[in-house]
Amino acid sequence: MIKTQKTEYRCPITLTNKAKDKMRELGLDERSFFLLEKSFHVYIEKYPQSGDGLVSAALFFDMEKNERLADKFNRFVVVLHCLVKQDRLVVTNVTTRPAHIPAASNWRASADLTFDLNAQGSGPMPYGLLDLIHNMPVAQESSMYVKKRIASWEGYLKIQEQSADIPDITSHYSTLVFNDDFSRVKIAGCQLNEKEWKSLKDMSVKLKGIDQDIGKVMKANRSAATVEVEVHGYMEDQARRGRLDSHPREVTFSNFATLSQVKRLRQGFKQLENGLAANPELERLLFENKPPVKEIKKQAKLQFHNRLNEFQQAAVIGAMSAEDLYVIQGPPGTGKTTVISEICLQNAKAGLRTLVASQSNLAVDNALGRLLANKDIRILRVGRTESIEEEGKKFIEENVGQYWKDHTLKEVSSQFEARKHRETEVEAEWAANEQEQERFQKKLAQVEDELEAKQKAQQLYNEIQDIIEKHKMDIHDAEKEGQTVQQLLQKIEQSLRLLNDTIEQDENFLAEEPDRDLFQKELEENQQEIVRLQDSVALQVLENEINQQKLTIDKVSAECEKWKEATNQQDALTGKIAAAKKIDTLKWLMLEQNFTRSLQVQSLLSKLDHLRERMKQLDKLKEYNEKLNRAISYLEKSLGNQHGHQREQLKTTPPISTTAEQIDQLLDTLRSELKGKSTIHPQRLEAFLKGLYGRRSFIWKKAEQLKLNDTDKKVAQEALQQLKQELIAQLKPILDDNKMIFQKYQRDLAEQTAKLTFLQNKSTQMRASADIIPNAKEFLHEKEAKVFDLQAKKEQYAQANLRIERNRTKREQETLQLKQARQKQTEIESRLSELSGILKEKEDEVIPLNEILSSEPEREHEEVLKKLASISFTRESLKQEKEKLPLFQSVQGVWQSLLEEANEHDLNEIRKLYVKHANVIGTTCVASARKDFIESYPIFDVVIIDEVSKATPPELLLPMLKGKKVILVGDHHQLPPLLGNDTLEETLQEMAQESEDFEGKAELKKLLQESLFERLFKNLPKSNKTMLAIQYRMHENIMETITPFYMQENEQLQCGLADSELDRDHKLSSPLIKRNNHLLWLDMPNEPAFFEERMKGGKSLFNPAELKRIGELLKELDDAAAEAKQAGRMEANQKKSIGVISFYGEQVKRIDRMLQQELCLTHLTIRTGTVDRFQGMEMDVILLSMVRNHDNKQDDIGFARDYRRLNVALSRAKELLVMIGSTKMFTERSKNKEARKMYTHVLESAKKQDGLRTLEEVSLHG
């Protein structure tokens, strides 16, 4: 626990007045105090540096090592608070601490100080001491570090503290009602207040007059005023005797156990804070993300005492080699306990003391029960006797004497018995040994002769071998040379063959081809013909060109004509315009020629039109004037001279404004009146006449206004003239264009005509020298090809000639080379045959030697020597045995009878020795913090914690505090801690219901996601962890269901059974279960008749349909077991061990009731429990009732969702696993994708193994 540095320092010291006063108050004298010891053993604690940079520290005086101080002053620990100066310590204050608080801690450094009160002039403080203080950590800081980190674990304590801090509750009661097997009692008629009713759960129960607790509260029913209690097993006898029910009827509920447990857990926190862990680095190992484990110096070399597989060996070696922390991940059935057993034994052999701790008593007992009985291992089980299981009982203190005796007696008896026959055996062995020795001595001599012969042979062999080697080398050289020559020969021959062929070919070619001159002639002829043909072609081309030209000229002159015509037309038009006298003519022309009516033209036209309109109106006026005149004259005539002057007056009638129609109307009226009546009143006529006059004078007036004057006429003339000019101007550009085009074509025509003339001239010239030959072009191509051909042939001919000449020279040279090479070959061959002759000779000489050499007298020699050594060793030990045998036999005989007779009292001394030297101590995590335990065992070399994942971190901390080295064994893929009787989910659910504001809940949930074990396992370096990857429990078909849970790990889970079919044969055969079935899923339909139900007034679920199914299945299994016995597959008295498990506690209760009340299964041993409770157990057959089945969209599959729970459920069975539940519910309706995936994997595995049973099949058989 404490770094014990044995260093002694001189320490100058002075006290301030305050300190001196304090000392006197405490009844200490300054002078005599420091004189009590020569040197004091103290623990130095460093304080945080003050603002002014001064270092201060406290000195705690050890009250055991400073004996004289302790004699005088032992009630308290004295503490000196000092300033640390360069030359001395200045004591500023003196205080005391209670003696039971340890002075030593990981935050304090120990030292032996010799105080020197004459500080002045005694020189500076020793450098070592200053250095020690300077380099040590500040205690408060280290504590703070722990405090901060450990705060995250508070949630666990809070849960337990929730109900812990309650004073004892006492009440009267009326009756005690026991259940059928006295395992429970209902206490009726309790009188408690509301708060008390609420807090009863899990409290321990005591009855007045009974010393021990009778049990633990399971359920408090306030309305019925009853408390249901689970009775401890050791109370059954008293209950059956009716002794519990005695007056006065008073019951006390107490929380003492829980409270003291929480206290211990808190105390663990405190110890870590105060630096009291056995391993000073513990807090950092626990809290750092990368646990700072010490590097492993070297791997331990071990001899194992258990049969271990490679992973188990690695785990043991790793655990033994690790300095501080080692973690073993052990999936179900992988032999964790074997590993623990081996580590304990290795530790024992190495003289180390081991603590084996676990969360539950059961696990501790399991682990201890499987340790090898070996005299080096002394196991002691510490804990309350009544809670220790059978397997652990033999190791409790009162029984270890007996255990030791039993074990020793067994050993002694077996040796004693064995030795009885030993005497004669030893004699016989002795004789045999002598014979053997003689035989081997002879053999030795013989072998040594052989050795010598072999050495000689070897020498000779080496000599010959040298010669052979040399010759072989020569032969090798010669052969190589021969090969070279052979290759040369082949090459030359090949080349010659080639040359001859070439020459022959060329000669043949020359012979076949005609003469060279003939070639030349033909060539020239052809060339001439080519010239002729070329000319003809050129002529032809020219003719074509001329024809083309003529056509062009025709085209151009036509164009020329056209444009000339156009120009003339335009000219004519201009003439017409100029000659036009009338506007209408112009208008017509404009329409005809489609002139543009420019603004100018428009205005001119309108001006002219206006004038013409006036003329027209004048004409009309003239017409009506005449009409009126005629009427007037008629009337004047008719009237005669009547009313002459009146008529004269009438003539001056003022103008009456009128229109043409009115005039016509008037005239018509007049005419009709004249016609109709023979006589017309002259007055009437006068009126008419007056109207006529008036109208005539209006017309006159109008005519006067309209009459054209000279100016008007002149304007009209000018306008007409302007219009003409305008039109002519519009025509002018077109005319110009036409003229230009016409001129251009005229020029073109002239050019083309000139060109034609030129071509015609040329043609005339050419005709003089060439003719036109039809198809000249094709002939020309032919001829040119022919010439090309001829030239090529000519070239070939010349080359062939040259080649022949060259090749002939070469042939001569090569023939010469060939001759030389052949000669050399002959030489080499003769040399070779000579050499191989010699070699053969030498090799013949070697053959007999080889025979000698191939024999191996050395090995035999060695073996003979070894054998002789072992013979003499055996002889020696036989000799010793012979000497010792009678003595041993007599001593052990006495010893045996003494042991046989020994009783408890006789073993008392042994018991004491055993306990003193116990080297494997087993206890639960929490019990390891009991006061008496801490006093007996403050520290362990190694602490092994089993089933780590089932313990909470505060629980784990307790044993960890005690270990220099900690080994954790667990599996984070199995379930996390249980709290009380419930799963964590249930506890959380309940707490949430009870108090809305439970703070720790969120925090705890987070912690539950990743356990301490998981984090450590993930973050530790490879050297400090192992996964045991070979399991021996399950048939490989069952194992298959859980392998996905371990996929993330480095190793894949493997099955270590040599033959699953043979080793895990369930031997049963029934309608549903075939011999080769190991994994079955009995599907329950996802229909209302098969749905889950909720218990009345509770939260737990059950499923009646599954219950019924399980009942039927158990009967079937029972029958199958009976049949297996009959068929001789099972022993007659053997029972199948069957576990019936469920995710839900209520279902388990109902299964229990059914088993007890409704079934009689004589061939089965059945255990039941929730999946959580079954962790760590194994059975031949497991039936899993899955319970959840509903069609509620809001609801899910509850805590069957947790893969760790499924993992545990699937991995309990050795031979056969039967799941009873709705496949649809779990593989389809489950909300969580991962959950669906994992159940689907199970279903697929079952299907693959032909293990899915649907209801049809089930009812068919059932």
Binding site: K375, T408, L898, N903, L907, L913, R1153, Q1157
Partner: protein, 244 residues
């Protein structure tokens, strides 16, 4: 007997959900044996220490390891005891090997000595059905006037032998006297079967309607307690019948 039955009934009916389906009274045979045995008186001894002393007399022991090998005992134990024996002057190291002192020799003598006591006798009561020896009773058993039927599953097997009797007697009669000497039952000299006594039992067959369970309660008048052995036997054999 009626009184007892009534008392038990009322006790059982304290549980309101319980119905009594049947109540019967019968007896089982219990055999009495008279046993003659004798006890010895001897000193308490630490057997390992005694064995070591005996060995030193016989052999030359130089080191703890030799003794550990011979006795198949942890060397640590031997070492501890060697020190203790040297300290208390029982042995000393003489020319390299351990020798007894006169005190040591005296110790052996007292350790080996045994004083045989007078022959004694006792009566043991044995129930064949339970295969158990029952403790003696001082107060009288309740009497019954009727002739009771014998228990329907009674048997007459008998597994008694001297060893078992010795074991039972050792548990009852071994003691330590005021001088620290042990008084131990050393041997059973003889044992003889006496008359067979009929022990009355009261059986109740119960039904708990709340939990829908049937069970049996059987009162053992000799032991004055509910007898789980017979309860279980009856339940195993009859429960399924009751449910029909």
């Amino acid at each position: 007997m009626d009184k007892l039955q009534k008392k038990l009934l009322s006790k059982l009916l304290e549980n309101p959900s319980v119905q009594i389906k049947k109540a019967v009274i019968w007896h089982i045979p219990m055999t009495n044996y008279t046993v003659a045995f004798h006890r010895v008186k001897r000193s308490k001894m630490d057997i390992l220490m005694k064995m070591m002393l005996l060995t030193f007399e016989q052999a030359q022991i130089r080191r703890a390891a030799n003794l550990a090998e011979m006795l198949l005992v942890e060397e640590l134990f031997i070492e501890d005891l060697l020190k203790k024996m040297q300290r208390t002057g029982l042995i000393r190291l003489e020319t390299g090997s351990y020798k007894l002192t006169s005190k040591g020799q005296g110790q052996i003598k007292t350790g080996v000595m045994e004083e045989e006591l007078e022959e004694e006798s006792a009566v043991l009561s044995y129930s064949t059905i339970h295969d158990e020896f029952w403790p003696e009773r001082t107060d009288p058993l309740p009497e019954s006037d009727e002739v009771l039927p014998v228990y329907r599953y009674a048997n007459d097997q008998n597994f008694i032998d001297a060893d078992r009797i010795l074991h039972v007697l050792a548990e009852r009669r071994n003691s330590v006297d005021e001088d620290g000497f042990q008084i131990i039952v050393a041997a059973v000299n003889s044992f003889e079967e006496q008359e067979v006594e009929n022990i009355t039992f009261l059986e109740f067959q119960l039904y708990n309607k709340e939990q829908d369970i049937y069970y049996a309660r059987v009162w053992n008048t000799w032991l004055g307690r509910w007898d789980e052995t017979l309860e279980k036997q009856i339940e195993d054999k009859e429960r399924l019948e009751w449910r029909k």
